[in-house]
């Protein structure tokens, strides 16, 4: 069930040809996280994200072609029909054939675009058949992740807050004197795009997110997953992803939520399944320490995860409907 029913591949490929100009113009496949000088949308790293990317490219291509025709005609008119070149104004002000043509052609183009877009919407809306559920709760100004279920087994007490990392937070203070360019993880600049504790998920798994908020409206957005979904107090929205490539994917809150709206990033760390399962087992073990066993050694493998908080605070969800 992961891929849904409608996949108009052939039409898409045909439409892709018309987007070729745009693609060459905008050069290559963009990386998952924002790059300096990036001109186009990311292709993303999930099963669904190419839908948005593809539709973007097709629509852009259509617009570029129409733009060339319309603006081309305008510039020709501006050079040919100048009074200074002795042009004499003609008298006509109507042409039924032309008007029918330029009403019909856009309608046909729109029908094609609508067909492509509808396919993408239907696959996006299908959250059934998921193999994992994560609850995402937005707060001013941090995210909370609760692992609800994995491979049909309920998970208890694995959940934590995720907020802006300390280095970014110190640097972003007004007149901090610190240079945002120095906030790095390895070679990657992570200023305002890093958190103290990322959401860890497995690749190759259809993950269902249930998304809500505890105070005001937020929006959970990781461009590499291809979508954003509003986190609304009192409402539980659902969305899904199936990440293909392991990696670290960064995003931000995308709905104005107060003074620190710009400072509540999202980091998703996608691990191979086996590693994820090891990580999850650690979290569960840490969450439920064996009773009265003083010397129980913590699981040894050094993961990036810090000791999790086990707060089981539920978001104040008073009603729910799904998107």
């Amino acid at each position: 069930m992961t891929s849904g029913g409608i996949r108009p591949g052939t039409i898409k490929r045909a439409a892709a040809a018309s987007a070729l100009f745009a693609l060459t113009l905008f050069g290559g496949v963009a990386m998952a996280n924002p790059q300096p000088g990036q001109l186009n949308m990311t292709r993303g790293a999930s099963e669904w994200s190419p839908e948005a990317y593809f539709l973007n490219n097709v629509a852009l291509g259509v617009c570029v072609v129409i733009g060339i025709l319309v603006f081309g005609a305008m510039f020709i008119a501006m050079f040919r029909f100048r009074k200074s070149r002795g042009a004499v104004a003609e008298k006509w002000s109507h042409n039924t054939t032309l008007e029918v043509i330029w009403t019909t052609i856009p309608v046909i183009i729109l029908i094609v675009l609508a067909y492509l877009a509808t396919g993408g919407l239907r696959t996006f809306a299908d959250t059934t058949g998921s193999q994992m559920t994560v609850k995402v709760t937005g707060y001013q100004w941090k995210w909370r992740y609760d692992y609800v279920e994995y491979q049909g087994k309920a998970i208890d007490k694995v959940g934590f807050m995720s907020k802006l990392d300390r280095e970014s937070d110190e640097t972003r203070q007004l007149n901090s004197g610190l240079d945002p360019h120095n906030v790095k993880v390895g070679d990657e600049n992570t200023y305002l795009l890093n958190v103290d504790k990322p959401l860890v998920v497995p690749v190759g798994t259809k993950i269902r997110f249930v998304i809500t908020a505890g105070d005001v409206i937020h929006s959970w957005w990781v461009p590499a997953l291809g979508w954003k979904m509003d986190a609304i107090p009192g409402i539980v929205n659902a969305a899904w992803t199936n990440i293909i490539e392991p990696g670290t994917y960064r995003g931000q809150c995308a709905e104005l939520c107060g003074q620190d709206h710009g400072f509540m990033p999202i980091v998703v760390q996608a691990l191979p399944k086996a590693e994820f399962e090891k990580w999850l087992a650690q979290q569960q073990a840490a969450a439920t320490p064996p009773p009265a066993q003083p010397a129980a050694p913590a699981p040894a493998p050094a993961s990036t995860a810090a000791a999790p908080k086990t707060a089981a605070v539920d978001a104040p969800v008073s009603q729910g409907h799904q998107g």
Binding site: N56, V70, A87, A89, N189, Y191, D230, N237, Q259
Partner: protein, 540 residues
């Protein structure tokens, strides 16, 4: 009438000109020209105030890191910039142009309801004093975005100020709209049939109906915010059984027609200016009118395309996506018709024409990004990013505001009796059109790369385009001072007298009047000669 011919030579009798007393003339005026001037001056003032907020925004975003303002103040700036520009600059400018020109274009002596006209203007300074005063109060200004989404907007301390200011603006707009409808439907000179009216008058007639339909909806939405904040109701409070998304539905049921309220009169203006300078009647007059009407109709059934990410059911997403895409058809017809009007003409490129042509090209670019945004799966990525910011600034700045500037240059000689400086007008144009693109075009890239809107600081990956955008912003802002200079020069210093028919190819009743237009015009209805009208003799 005893004074059949007095309107173009001031003589002896009781047919008075403008009152000499400044207060009486400007504060107590019921004259459509004076009130139109008041609206336009007010709008220009608000344009510079709203623009100064934009300068703060672009200065903070000049490079990564927080250098100038605290994040909360940044949010106040984005919120106030939008409110001031939408309700203070663009809308009053169109009302001002309508006030000045509609009676002149349809051969009416004044607006139908002159005292209400005075009231609808004089509400505005109070509304904006109320709104802007919040910036000097301890609680600060509204900072929840101009869309005022609860629960966030209810966290502010200035909710009451914001709500009452919006109420006042709404009352002003509704009265203005009633006045325009009453004038157009009742006061046209004999022979000025509906389908002979200038497109600008048509666009305003349709816009006025939109205003009457949706301003009360906005008033209802903000009133519910007020009672949620201060009177313990729970319209939008989930804990009390309300629904925060309900507000968004109500707001955008107002908000989307509002978008067209700000662009339909611009269509009208451009449809007057291009035929004049192409010296050729507008192509497809009736199609232009029907396109405006169908865009107005569609504006009521597309509101939830602003809400593709709130978790609408699949059927809702599909309906609003299809309906939104449909708008491209009438809008396309308008663009094609403007190009066809130019085709086969005999064009000259005075400043109004330059701004009108820039409008057609740049508004169309805004339309293209609008079409992309309409595609819901792609909008899951675009939504609430700088791509959206680029989109609506293309349609509002290079769309609505360029059309307003074009209209101002077009009729300024008729208003003042003097020609503005064509050289400085062209300098203003070229600076505006270059810098506005430097300002807004890179924002498409920022949005596509993943920069959310309404953030005061950003990752260094977004640094280069933000700096380019800010430089464009500062220079575009500075270019508008040239505009101010050109207007001041034309009003008080220009020596060059304007002829009655200011532009060689200009048609329409306003050009049969002297320049400057006398204080009272068309006391006696003019005799309409169809070939005098821009669209009087078309058969299509």
């Amino acid at each position: 009438m005893a004074h059949a011919a007095t309107h173009d030579h001031h003589d002896h009798d009781d047919h008075h000109g403008a009152p000499k007393n400044f207060f009486v003339r400007w504060c107590m005026s019921t004259n459509h020209k004076d009130i139109g001037t008041l609206y336009l001056v007010f709008s220009l003032l608000m344009f510079f105030i709203g623009g100064s907020f934009a300068m703060v925004i672009r200065a903070e975003l000049f490079k990564p890191g927080m250098q100038l303002v605290q994040p909360y103040f940044f949010n106040e700036m984005t919120t106030m910039h939008a409110l001031v520009m939408i309700f203070g600059a663009v809308m009053p400018a169109f009302v001002g142009l309508g006030n000045w020109m509609i009676p002149l274009m349809i051969g009416a002596p004044d607006m139908a309801l002159p005292r209400m006209n005075n009231l609808s203007f004089w509400i505005l300074p109070f509304a904006f004093s109320l709104l802007l005063s919040t910036l000097f109060l301890p609680g600060g200004g509204p900072a929840g975005g101009w869309t005022m989404y609860p629960p966030l907007s209810l966290q502010g301390d200035s909710v009451a100020y914001l709500v009452f200011a919006v109420h006042l603006m709404g009352i002003s707009s509704i009265m203005g709209a009633i006045n325009i409808i009453a004038t157009i439907l009742n006061m046209r000179a004999p022979g000025m049939d509906l389908l002979k009216m200038p497109v600008f008058v048509w666009s305003w007639l349709i816009t006025a109906f939109l205003l009457i339909a949706v301003m009360p909806v906005l008033a209802g939405a903000v009133t519910m915010l007020l009672t949620d904040k201060y009177f313990g109701t729970s319209f939008f409070n989930a804990a009390g059984g309300g629904d925060p998304v309900l507000f968004q539905h109500i707001f955008w049921f107002f908000g989307h027609p509002e978008v067209y309220i700000m662009i339909l009169p611009a269509f009208g203006l451009v449809s007057e200016i291009i035929p004049t300078f192409a010296r050729k009647p507008i192509f497809g007059y009736k199609a232009m009118v029907f396109a405006i009407a169908s865009i107005a109709f569609l504006s009521f059934i597309v509101w939830a395309h602003h809400m593709f990410a709130v978790g609408l059911p699949l059927g809702g997403e599909i309906f609003f996506m299809y309906a939104t895409m449909l708008i491209a058809v009438p809008t396309g017809v308008k663009v094609f018709n403007w190009v066809s009007t130019m085709w086969g003409g005999s064009m000259t490129f005075e400043t109004p024409m330059l701004f009108a042509i820039a409008f057609v090209i740049l508004f169309t670019i805004g339309g293209f990004s609008g079409l992309m945004l309409a595609l819901a799966p792609a909008d899951f990525q675009y939504h609430d990013t700088y791509f959206v910011v680029a989109h609506f600034h293309y349609v509002l700045v290079t769309g609505a505001i360029f059309a307003i500037i074009a209209g101002t240059y077009y009729w300024l000689p008729k208003w003042t009796g003097h020609m503005y400086s064509e050289t400085w007008g062209k300098i203003h144009f070229w600076n505006s059109v270059i810098w506005v693109n430097v300002l807004f075009f890179p924002q498409h890239f920022l949005g596509l790369a993943g920069m959310p809107r309404r953030i005061p600081d950003y990752n260094v990956a977004f640094a280069n385009f933000n700096m380019i955008s800010s430089i464009g912003g500062f220079l575009f802002g500075a270019s508008q001072l040239i505009f101010l200079g050109v207007i001041v020069h034309a009003v008080w210093f220009s020596k060059k007298k304007a002829p009655d028919r200011v532009w060689e190819g200009a048609k329409g009743l306003e050009w049969t009047l002297p320049s400057p237009a006398p204080y009272h015009t068309f006391d006696v209805p003019p005799v309409i000669h169809d070939d005098e009208l821009a669209h009087g003799h078309v058969e299509d």
